[in-house]
């Protein structure tokens, strides 16, 4: 019983992290129909801010990571993604892949190809005893951050003017523009928020592993992609559910898979979405866009 509870909490924590990644990916997708591969590099660069800012108070470093995520995301949109805004989804995906490759290798050239360790406050790695359960503080932080981010996100989307513009853009961008929503600020804003979400994930990953590496964004962004795909393209709630499912599946497989199959956990986790898509080609909640226009 205790073990089950423990595993469920682990599953929820990992699922929360994945949900945050998926939310960042789906936000940009919903306003400009682009699956942004460079989201992984937004995560990676935010994490490197913590490495570069080693020595300054941790709170300041966190601020630096957040600023990095936002700035890189906005800059990438301005320089690379704006020129291909009219292109089809595949072309945009490939463009973002190019941006990701450049950012990843610039870090490799400028810092190092090998992982670098980053010190985090010791409180992060301690555990707290809750009854019979020992819950790592990192899990508390992850769950807390997810709750705050989801709450803030909901407030922004449903209680502010900017949020209304973003939701309108997500529904039908052309129509929204005709009604006076200006495209550039809305897209820039969604990239900024997406970058902030990436920074949160980057910080959490550093706290989890204690290190940064140029390729650390690859697995997270693919997890985000898969979560968005199984949740239904452009569905915010679908992305959160997809992330939670994927994280929970990964965590529970880690706990219950027989030892000789354990190395193949990722293979199983990444096969699941295809199985879902075969039966529900539009994802669990159905795609918000991309239906056949007849």
């Amino acid at each position: 019983m205790t073990e089950l509870a423990q595993n469920l909490i682990d599953a929820l924590a990992l699922g929360s992290l994945y949900a945050l990644i998926a939310l960042g990916v789906t936000l940009v997708y919903s306003v400009m129909d682009m699956m942004n591969f460079a989201h992984g590099e937004f995560i990676m660069l935010s994490a490197y801010a913590l490495y570069v800012l080693a020595g300054v108070p941790f709170g300041v470093a966190l601020g630096g990571a957040l600023a990095t995520g936002v700035l890189i995301a906005v800059a990438a949109e301005l320089v690379a993604f704006r020129p291909v805004r009219k292109a089809d989804m595949s072309a945009q995906l490939v463009t973002s892949l190019a941006v990701a490759t450049i950012l990843q290798n610039v870090v490799m050239a400028a810092v190092d190809a090998r992982p670098k360790s980053v010190a985090t406050p010791s409180v992060v790695s301690e555990t707290t005893q809750v009854g019979a359960l020992s819950i790592s503080n990192l899990e508390f932080i992850t769950l807390g951050m997810t709750a705050i981010v989801l709450g803030g996100f909901g407030w922004l989307l449903y209680r502010t003017r900017a949020g209304l513009a973003m939701r309108a853009a997500a529904e039908n961008f052309d129509m929204a523009r005709l009604l006076g929503v200006r495209a550039d600020p809305v897209i820039a804003l969604s990239f900024a928020i997406s970058g902030a979400l990436a920074a949160v994930v980057g910080v959490l990953l550093v706290m989890q592993t204690g290190q940064v590496s140029p390729t650390m964004g690859l697995t997270p962004v693919l997890i985000g992609f898969v979560a968005v795909t199984i949740g239904g393209f452009g569905r915010m709630l679908g992305a959160v559910i997809g992330g939670l499912l994927l994280g929970a599946a990964s965590s529970l497989l880690g706990s219950y898979l027989p030892a000789d199959l354990l190395p193949f956990r990722d293979a199983i986790v990444f096969s699941l979405p295809v199985a879902i898509l075969v039966f529900k080609p539009q994802g669990l909640l159905g795609a918000a866009t991309g239906e056949a226009r007849v």
């Binding site: 699956m35 690379a80 020129p83 291909v84 292109a87 989804m89 595949s90 072309a91 995906l93 490939v94 463009t95 892949l97 190019a98 941006v99 990701a100 490759t101 450049i102 990843q104 290798n105 610039v106 870090v107 490799m108 050239a109 190809a113 140029p214 390729t215 690859l218 693919l222 992609f225 898969v226 968005v228 795909t229 393209f233 190395p263 193949f264 990722d266 293979a267 990444f270 096969s271 979405p273 295809v274 199985a275 898509l277 075969v278 080609p281 539009q282 994802g283 795609a287 991309g290 056949a292 226009r293 007849v294």
Partner: protein
């Protein structure tokens, strides 16, 4: 059979020879250089095969796959294990079955086995992947790449795990790599110009229109995916026999981006582009890799140890291509279609679009006599009690409709009456909530649009939905290919249909370059090439001027007499409906208001009230 061809002999020859010439030049440079350059050239030729494999799927389907390197990896491992001496195999991969452990095939044998095995593997993997949506395929192929990597990196007893394999025989020479690359070019071109290749390209140009012409999207994609996996596997097998070492990361993320860049830089739709792009990007890549470890550049400045420089270069090329040159160096054209090469060879370019179009009023043509035997005119399209709701909105509430071959039925009604929804149901694009559709007495409920097109029922759309990159002749030929015609037959049918519709002059123009009115006409031509018994036309005259409208009526009358198919005509332009259709069905608010002759309809007060509006009578009586 007419002498019409999809492309001229000279264009065909240039398209086929140009990539081979490039390969031969590359081989010559490699053969005359240092052993290190030789090795590099062999590697590039192997990469080229993988890029050609990528092109076969991505270029023709327009759907990106990031997973094809998974097949290259699988092919490389299979080839390595098949050729490693048994003692080495036992040492590195103790869990391998004896059959493979003892197998020690030659270079040719192992590559051939790999080609078949990777084709089968890709077909098995593609079976679920190709069923997912167009949006989801890039993501799920990425997932496959990770799965393949994860399995290879952790299946220690068979693959040697993350440490990889060493001492693999280095048997790939410059000649064998070049010959395989030439073979890959031949396969890629042959596929592109096959009926299956054309059907897949049509889905790339417009998926919905392609389905309406009888093309099964999933099946066509699967064929290309398997062929692509085969070529990628061969590329991987030859590459590993060049390098002699293999690790799970050899064909993983970096290689995926690199090969993708090569294809995109050359122009994804073009086989020539794949060859050109591989050579161009690989040259830059190799040059940058040379200075990664630190170098003086022309004595001007020095570069320190900079890992990642080559990858930055690849990323920049990819970004620059996507932003500035999305169709790549070739513009997506084969060598024989390149205008500058054509001028160089002294060929005349495609005729000027401004030239007057030859108009053949079909109704007056003698040859427009019935081409269908009277017996085939039996049967009917019968819909009974069709009901459709979108959410709480009941768009159709029990509509009946009957259409017979050789007859024209007008379907009119105010906006929102449910006309297009009814056509969507009849053509299989939408499943009704209730009701049955019978085709010649057979219940066809649940059949796909593609299947219905092969059964003899096809449609046009309110938009023209052209295949912009295909020529008009190709666009119409695809209609015949969609219902199973071979290439020669399809081209002959297409030429005949184009002639009948007065579009012959446009044969070699890209469909996307036509003016809107001609694109609509081309849409009708495409459906006629499927040899339909029932043709559903959704507002074919929308956007046409009066003269064009009259021409359309003449053409459709010719279709009725010449092709003998039943036509269901949705049209707002009353003069078109009244002059063509002896029977008119009026829909209003999801129910049939009236079926009758045009004169009766025009006189019916309820119809006037619902649709024509009271002012119509005043105008009509005036």
């Amino acid at each position: 059979m007419s002498a019409v061809r999809l492309r001229s002999r000279s264009s065909l020859a240039v398209s086929a020879l140009a990539p081979l010439v490039l390969i031969a030049l590359t081989m010559a440079i490699g053969a005359s250089g240092t052993p290190s350059l030789r090795g590099t050239v062999i590697t590039i030729l192997c990469e080229m095969i993988v890029v050609l494999g990528l092109q076969v799927f991505v270029g023709n389907s327009g759907v990106y796959s990031f997973g094809q390197l998974g097949f290259a990896s699988a092919g490389a491992y299979a080839a390595a294990l098949l050729t490693l001496p048994a003692a080495f195999v036992a040492l590195q991969t103790p869990g391998l079955p004896d059959l493979i452990e003892d197998a020690q095939l030659g270079a040719l044998g192992s590559t051939a086995v790999v080609a078949v095995a990777c084709g089968v593997l890709a077909a098995i993997v593609g079976l679920p992947l190709m069923r997912t949506s167009t949006l989801a395929i890039p993501i799920s192929t990425f997932a496959f790449l990770i799965v393949a990597y994860n399995v290879i990196a952790n299946w220690d007893r068979v693959t040697g795990g993350s440490g990889g394999l060493v001492s693999i025989p280095r048997t790939t020479g410059i000649v064998s790599a070049g010959l395989w690359a030439a073979g890959a070019v031949a396969v890629a071109l042959a596929y592109k110009w096959s009926t299956g290749g054309y059907r897949l390209q049509a889905t790339r140009e417009d998926e919905v229109a392609a389905r309406s012409l009888g093309i099964g999207v999933t099946g066509e994609r699967l064929v290309a995916f398997a062929l692509s996996g085969m070529l990628c596997g061969v590329g991987g097998a030859l590459a590993v026999h060049q390098s002699g070492v293999l690790a799970p990361t050899t064909f993983y993320f970096v290689a995926s981006v690199t090969t993708l860049t090569m294809m995109v830089a050359g122009g994804a739709r073009s086989v020539f582009g794949a060859v050109l792009g591989t050579i161009a990007v690989a040259s830059v890549n190799e040059a940058l890799r040379g200075v990664e470890g630190g170098a003086d550049v022309l004595g001007l400045f020095s570069i320190g140890n900079t890992p990642g420089l080559a990858a930055i270069g690849v990323g920049l090329i990819l970004l620059a291509t996507m932003v500035a040159l999305p169709d790549g160096l070739t513009g997506g054209r084969e060598a024989g279609e390149l205008p500058w090469l054509g001028r160089l060879l002294g060929r005349t370019p495609v005729g000027d679009l401004a030239a007057p179009r030859f108009v053949a009023p079909m109704g007056t043509q003698k040859q427009a006599a019935a081409t269908r035997a009277p017996a085939e005119r039996a049967g009917a399209l019968n819909a009974r009690g069709i009901a459709v709701s979108f959410g709480g909105l009941r768009v159709l509430r029990g509509v009946d409709l009957t259409l017979r071959p050789g007859e024209a039925l007008g379907l009119i009604g105010p906006n929102g009456a449910g006309k297009t929804t009814l056509v969507n149901v009849l053509s299989g694009f939408l499943a009704p909530d209730a009701g049955t559709v019978e085709l010649d007495g057979v219940d066809v409920g649940g059949r796909s649009p593609a299947r219905l097109a092969r059964d003899g029922l096809t449609r046009t759309f309110q938009g023209a939905l052209p295949f912009p990159q295909l020529s008009c002749l190709e666009s119409v030929a695809v209609g015949a290919m969609g219902v199973g015609a071979r290439r020669g037959k399809a081209v002959a049918v297409a030429a005949e249909v184009l002639a009948r519709l007065g579009l012959s002059e446009r044969s070699s123009h890209p469909a996307g370059s036509l003016p809107p009115a001609e694109q609509r006409l081309l849409g009708v031509a495409r459906t006629l090439a499927t040899n339909p018994r029932y043709l559903l036309l959704d507002e074919p005259a929308a956007g046409l001027n009066e003269a064009e409208g009259e021409e359309l009526v003449a053409i459709l009358r010719g279709v009725l007499e010449g092709f003998g198919c039943g036509i269901l005509l949705i049209e707002h332009e009353m003069s078109v409906v009244m002059s063509l259709c002896p029977q008119v069905q009026v829909l209003d608010d999801g129910v049939t208001l009236r079926v009758g002759a045009p004169a009766e309809i025009q006189a019916d007060p309820a119809v006037i009230e619902a649709y024509l509006g009271s002012s119509y009578m005043e105008v009509a009586n005036a």
